[in-house]
Amino acid sequence: MLFFAAILSLFLFLTPLASRCYSHGKVETEEEFDSRWVTYFSKPDIDAWELRKGMNTLIGYDLVPEPKILDSALRACRRLNDLASAIRILEAVKDKAGSHKEIYPYVIQELKPTLTELGISTPEELGIDKL
């Protein structure tokens, strides 16, 4: 009975990526999405509000941001002299990864050169990753 109900629900709620139905506009590729966000954070005179707004919007998506987007966001933090937000961004990445523990170490690995260049410590290095 449960099996039957689960199969029924599967058909009702399953939308495989390949057969998603869009009733409007063009689908944006992952590369286009990433470029858009890199550009957003690359604005030379980005202000603090735009940084916060961008990060909050980005965090709302069903994805962990690509290292290149995060690199752009961290550089925006540098331009705004906002070290706190830079470290918060790293915490947010770890939180977005949820139970997928392999994501955060990978992102840190990819961002290491940027973190060193900009002098950003990770939450782990500061000891603030533990409660």
């Binding site: 449960l2 629900s9 709620f13 994805l63 941001p65 997928h100």
Partner: protein, 71 residues
């Protein structure tokens, strides 16, 4: 040794694809199966007269420890 790139997109969608059918399956099952079943049992026993049923069973001669009345 550098870490390979993991999957970073669609993680919630993947989780929901797996768990939502189960969740709705359980929900549908409770309302379509278990609740009617519980009601059926409750209704059966609402006006159940245990002594009357016992007497009927006794007369039917199914017990080993009690003989039908009058024998």
């Amino acid at each position: 040794m550098s870490l390979p790139k993991p999957v970073m997109r669609g993680l919630l969608a993947k989780r929901l694809k797996f768990h939502l059918p189960i969740a709705f399956g359980v929900a549908i099952t409770t309302f379509a199966v278990t609740e009617p079943r519980k009601k059926a049992y409750a209704n059966f026993y609402k006006n159940y007269d245990a002594v009357k049923e016992f007497k009927a069973m006794r007369e039917a001669g199914i017990f080993e420890s009690v003989r039908p009345a009058g024998k």
